[in-house]
């Protein structure tokens, strides 16, 4: 029996979460959603996940903070974390990489490329 790959999408925009949910669910992924970094941490404290996809600019706890918090402990040290953002600066990309992100995807995303990236990093 195969288990579905479970993805947590973290974005403060309900419209973006809906697009992600549609694109990923259509390809057979089990998708959960959180509206910012703190909501993601709350959800991850109680649930298991295979891949995290997070925005950068969010209230309360942004994507950088989320990645740093996840990498602090042992439970999510190797968890694939993809950043999906409108940011295009090399400085912010380098910051995400230093914080422990697995990959960097620039919006507007291409559903096929996103799915291919998720399949590649999921393990």
């Amino acid at each position: 029996m195969t288990t579905m790959t479970r993805i947590l999408t973290v974005d403060d925009s309900p419209s973006m979460r809906a697009l992600l949910n549609h694109a990923l669910s259509n390809q057979g992924f089990d998708v959960a959603q959180a509206e910012d970094g703190l909501a993601a941490l709350d959800w991850l404290a109680l649930n298991e996940v295979d891949v995290v996809i997070t925005d950068i600019n969010m209230p309360r706890l942004d994507g950088f903070g989320l990645i740093e918090r996840l990498r602090e402990g042992s439970r999510h040290r190797d968890r694939p974390i993809l950043v999906l953002t409108t940011e295009s600066s090399e400085e912010k990309k380098a910051r995400a990489r230093a914080a422990g992100a697995t990959g960097w995807i620039v919006k507007p995303f291409d559903p096929a490329k996103l799915v291919a990236a998720v399949r590649r990093v999921a393990h």
């Binding site: 403060d12 419209s15 697995t102 620039v106």
Partner: protein, 186 residues
Amino acid sequence: MFEHRIVPDGVPAPERITVMQGQALVSAAPQAELSTVLGSCVALCLFDPEARLGGMNHFLLAEPPVGVSGDTVDEFYGTYLMELLVNQMLAKGARKSRLRAHLYGGANVNRNMMRIGSANADFARRFVHREGIELVRSDLGGSNARRVDFRPASGQVRCRTVEDRFAPPVQPTSRPAKATGDVELF
């Protein structure tokens, strides 16, 4: 560049800034006035009354790319364009929960583009509703071009019907070639 004029009573005249198709501009300057002329295009004006800050975009979305079904416009690109405006507002001190929205445009001025104008208006309404942003005024659809003047620091908006010749014919904005959602794995 902006034009600085002083009217006779000593009050500085507005600094009119034209928002072109595909642009999103945000300002807190008291004299700034964001202006645009809309035919089938749609403009979203956002205002944060506490931060005294506003912004406007101007867009006409194309049909979705091949392989993306179920939508009448390219919602992936449209949501991205809207997010750019919202992010600019937040970066300058606005709070999303305080944002108030105005929507204008989406007229069916050109028979050949009737469907795309209405589809853009529908997309904009859906976006504002989904984001939980209060829509305080909308003037969408119909068959006439509109001129919108928005004072971003006060939230005042004036929307007037204008002759169609003032709204230059435009083509829907397809996502730029570089905006292909490229993935870089570290």
